[in-house]
């Protein structure tokens, strides 16, 4: 072999080596991307898998005998009397009857105490209140036997969704053998049905998984966002106009700019500490209220809004300003009449993105006491309330099985809102984006 051949051989080897390295490098890059997308898929997939069943629930239909003797023996028709009747006994009696109706037990046969307890456990703990509310709405029902459809206990729901393993030893599962056989009978009889979980959207928080809903948290989020928006949007727009159009180049302006950039990167929990120390302890704003929470969110979203609004103002070409001023408008007029309307879509886009951030934020609101157990739906910005992410946080801590799918369902609702807001922002940007 000649020298040249040797050299060529070596060169070829080197080139192959280099090309292999190149391929490996690309592979690593692809792997990184694949990994990221896999993470995203697992994250969203595991939530949807867990949450989708949270949108359905199990109801049970049974007859309730509204015994006049127990409800309103003196025919007063007084709502107060009816409201304080022995609803628990009325409900229990009707529940014990359910087995008779299914002819699972002979007439007159009495269930043992343990059996009674097992049977009652299949029904929602709030059944007696719901029956009372039905009667309170229509007093003429007293004395009749009505058919009601109420949610079952969340264990039944979980069992029918296959989340309770039947093969476990009886002591280790929340439902015992006799309960399971009853449930199966009721399903066969058509007493137990699967329906859309409307409680999730129409009720506030509850200790019972079957009654818990996100309406209170949604209202709280909405109110807090309203407070946040009404403060941060005007302030953000005004600050960005000042900084882009009027601010003199001096130390103070520099300081403001550095400050805004740094505030955007301050951990959100620090804003919570600020809110706790200033809004709650100095200004004595009501704890847990959307007002206090919204104020903290406003301070947090302000930098985002200012930064994007400034970009929107910057995008308006100077010729517009010059044309306005050439026609005799003052600087202020050129800004308010021309620059501001042209920059508004960009500012709105930034604001929506800021609001989406605020909607997903939890940590600072924990500090403001917005994680309490609150049943009532808040009506005003000073009522105690919680927000959607805080509700998710609270539910994820609940040991009861039924809350897991509810938490995931609430997350899906939250993500749905965020998706809508971001899509709206993208839509706005595309629709109003102008090339100058």
């Amino acid at each position: 072999m000649t020298n040249i051949d040797l050299l060529e051989n070596q060169r070829d080897k080197l080139i192959t080596k280099r090309y292999n390295k190149e391929k490996r490098f690309i592979l690593i890059g692809r792997l990184a991307i694949a990994l990221t997308i896999m993470f995203l898929t697992i994250l969203l997939g595991s939530i949807v898998l867990r949450g989708i069943s949270g949108f359905t629930t199990t109801t049970i239909t049974f007859n309730v005998t509204l015994d006049k003797k127990l409800i309103d023996p003196e025919s007063t028709n007084d709502k107060k009397v009816i409201s304080s009747a022995r609803w628990r006994k009325i409900t229990r009696d009707s529940i014990y009857n359910v087995l008779n109706d299914m002819s699972l037990v002979m007439n007159g046969e009495v269930l043992s105490k343990a059996e009674q307890k097992s049977l009652v456990r299949l029904f929602s703990r709030s059944s007696e209140y719901q029956i009372r509310d039905i009667v309170m709405d229509d007093i003429s029902l007293v004395g009749k036997t009505i058919e009601v459809t109420l949610p079952t206990a969340s264990e039944v729901d979980q069992f029918l969704k296959g989340k309770i393993d039947e093969n476990l030893p009886e002591d280790n599962r929340p439902l015992n053998n006799i309960q399971i056989s009853w449930i199966n009978h009721m399903v066969d009889n058509g007493m137990i049905n699967k329906t859309f979980n409307s409680n999730l959207f129409t009720k506030g928080d509850s200790r019972n998984a079957e009654d818990a809903g996100i309406l209170g948290a949604l209202m709280g989020s909405l109110l807090a966002l309203l407070v946040c928006l009404s403060i941060s949007f005007p302030l953000g727009v005004m600050a960005s106009i000042y900084l882009e159009e009027f601010a003199p180049k001096n130390k103070l302006t520099d300081m403001i700019e550095v400050n805004i950039n740094n505030l955007a990167a301050v951990p959100s929990i620090v804003f919570g500490l600020l809110g706790l120390a200033i809004f709650l302890n100095v200004f004595n704003l009501p704890r847990s209220s959307p007002l206090a929470g919204g104020l903290v969110l406003a301070l947090m979203t302000l930098p985002t809004i200012i930064i994007s609004s400034r970009a929107a103002i910057k995008a308006v070409p100077p010729s517009i300003r010059e044309a306005a001023m050439g026609l005799g408008a003052s600087k202020m007029q050129s800004v308010t009449h021309h620059v501001l309307p042209l920059a508004m879509p960009g500012m709105l886009t930034g604001t929506i993105i800021g609001m989406a951030q605020a909607l997903g934020e939890t940590a600072p609101l924990l500090m403001m006491g917005m994680v309490a157990f609150i049943v009532d739906v808040p009506q005003s910005i000073t009522d105690p309330s919680t927000v959607l992410p805080a509700q998710i946080f609270l539910w994820s801590d609940q040991p009861e099985r039924g809350f897991e799918e509810k938490t995931a369902a609430a997350i899906m609702v939250l993500l749905g809102f965020l998706l809508t807001m971001n899509a709206l922002a993208v839509f706005l940007r595309n629709k109003f984006e102008r090339k100058w």
Binding site: I28, M238, P267
Partner: protein, 455 residues
């Protein structure tokens, strides 16, 4: 309580717009001489009618709110006054509730209730009368003033400018507010606990009853385990997010076709838009149990609140952060450097490793620093997936606690605000703020310089 004077100001303000406009309309010279519009004179009158009166109203409200509490406290008979300061505050609150017509569980002295009601009545009366008169007086003065010497437009623009300036100052005020609230509480904390113990103590158990023979809060506020836990979780997060984020950025900016980039980049950014509470749920319910099962199958004992689970999920959260910042930095490296490298025969990967990365290094480092600052300050993931007990360990399968977890557990729920426990949370917050601020200031400066250098 909104009282009548506010309605009055509102109505007078509204009508003064038309009154001012009319007066300007009658005086045609005015418009031609000053270059303003009629509506400018309307607004001019509105501002002068409402603004001084409103400022007066707010000042009076704040001052009287303060005075009424002090004076009512003084009016309480000395034998009924609790000694404890926070008890005094509660007592005062129940007096105020009763005075406003509510019910209170504790018995309150009637003399103070009557005093409060009297004070409130006369204060409101005085406030309303003076507010109304101020707005009326300034309305008449400035109504008469509307003539050719007044340049309403310039005046209006100056007022607007003042408002614009004030709103841009809010950013500085927020920072000052953060620093003030943190410093005040932290300095109180360091009266109880020495700085040395806080920064070098190895035992963190603020929730525990104090041990026997312990002086003050000595011996339970050593924050080293908390810092160590934060560090461990951040390290795990960066070990995942650093390489994955960086390589994604490199692939996207150097190799991917335009169309691929168009799809992949927003997809990755979806990760950045997911709220942290969702990551927390994911970490606590999916990743945590998975890691425990896996390590148990290898015969390793793992806590279900392992540092690994929290760290990995935090890493996933940070990936889009690192990848988009690095992407910006890599894109800002000028094309000529790449072409020169190709020109001497380098392959693409060699160009990236030998030319682009070195050129972009300070920017990439800055991106990593911002990501670290984000990881340190992240709260929900660790609150939901990391532990509460402060253990000094380097085992990623063990449960550790972090600064943010401690802040949340010390402050959430019912508490007296001035205990050493709550002040400890502010001390931790101060530490967190200081560290992230340093990282941010440095990194933001580098990133900014970077953009200028190659632009």
């Amino acid at each position: 309580m909104l009282d009548i004077s506010l309605y009055f100001i509102f109505l007078l303000g509204l009508s003064s717009y038309y009154i001012g406009k009319n007066r300007a309309k009658k005086n045609i010279n005015l418009i031609t001489e000053t270059g303003g519009l009629e509506s400018h004179y309307g607004l001019y009158l509105v501002i002068w009618t409402a603004l001084p009166a409103l400022i007066f109203y707010i000042t009076w409200s704040i001052i009287s709110n303060y005075l009424i509490k002090e004076a009512t406290l003084d009016s309480i008979p000395s034998d009924l006054l609790p000694e404890n300061l926070s008890m005094q505050k509660l007592f005062l609150d129940s007096i105020i509730v009763v005075a406003k017509g509510g019910n209170s569980l504790s018995k309150v002295p009637e003399i103070s209730v009557a005093f409060y009601q009297n004070f409130a009545f006369y204060s409101t009366l005085g406030k309303s009368i003076s507010t109304i008169s101020i707005s009326l007086i300034s309305f008449f003065i400035f109504y008469r003033k509307i003539d050719s010497t007044v340049r309403a437009k310039n005046f209006l623009e100056r007022i607007i400018l003042v408002f614009l300036f004030i709103s841009s100052i809010i950013a500085i005020m927020t920072t000052v507010g953060i620093i003030l609230s943190l410093v005040v509480e932290t300095s109180k904390f360091f009266q109880d606990v020495t700085i040395f113990e806080y920064f070098f103590g190895l035992l963190w158990s603020p929730q525990m009853a104090l041990r026997e023979g312990q002086v003050a809060a000595e011996g339970s506020f050593g924050a080293v385990p908390v810092f160590a836990g934060t560090f461990l979780i951040t390290l795990i997060a960066m070990a995942l997010a650093g390489p994955v984020g960086l390589f994604s950025a490199i692939y996207l900016s150097e190799y991917a076709s335009k169309n691929t980039r168009k799809i992949i980049k927003p997809t990755i950014e979806v990760l950045a838009g997911v709220p942290t509470v969702v990551y927390g749920f994911f970490a606590a319910l999916v990743v945590g149990p998975f890691i425990r099962r896996t390590s148990e199958s290898f015969g390793l004992a793992a806590s279900s609140e392992s540092a690994l689970a929290a760290g990995l999920v935090m890493g996933i959260m940070i990936i889009p952060f690192i990848s988009s910042l690095s992407d910006d930095v890599i894109n800002s490296v000028p094309q000529s450097l790449r072409e020169a490298s190709f020109g001497v025969g380098a392959t693409k990967s060699e160009t990236i490793k030998k030319v682009i990365i070195p050129a972009a290094l300070p920017g990439i480092v800055a991106a990593f620093m911002l990501a670290i600052s984000r990881a340190i300050g992240e709260t929900m993931i660790v609150v939901m997936a990391a532990g509460l007990s402060a253990k000094l360990t380097a085992n990623p399968l063990d449960s550790v606690t972090t600064v943010t977890v401690q802040i949340v557990t010390l402050l959430v729920g019912d508490h007296e605000f001035d205990s050493t426990k709550t002040m400890a949370a502010f001390a931790l917050g101060m530490t967190l703020f200081a560290i992230t601020l340093m990282l941010n200031i440095y990194a933001l400066r580098v990133v900014k310089k970077y953009r200028e250098k190659y632009d």
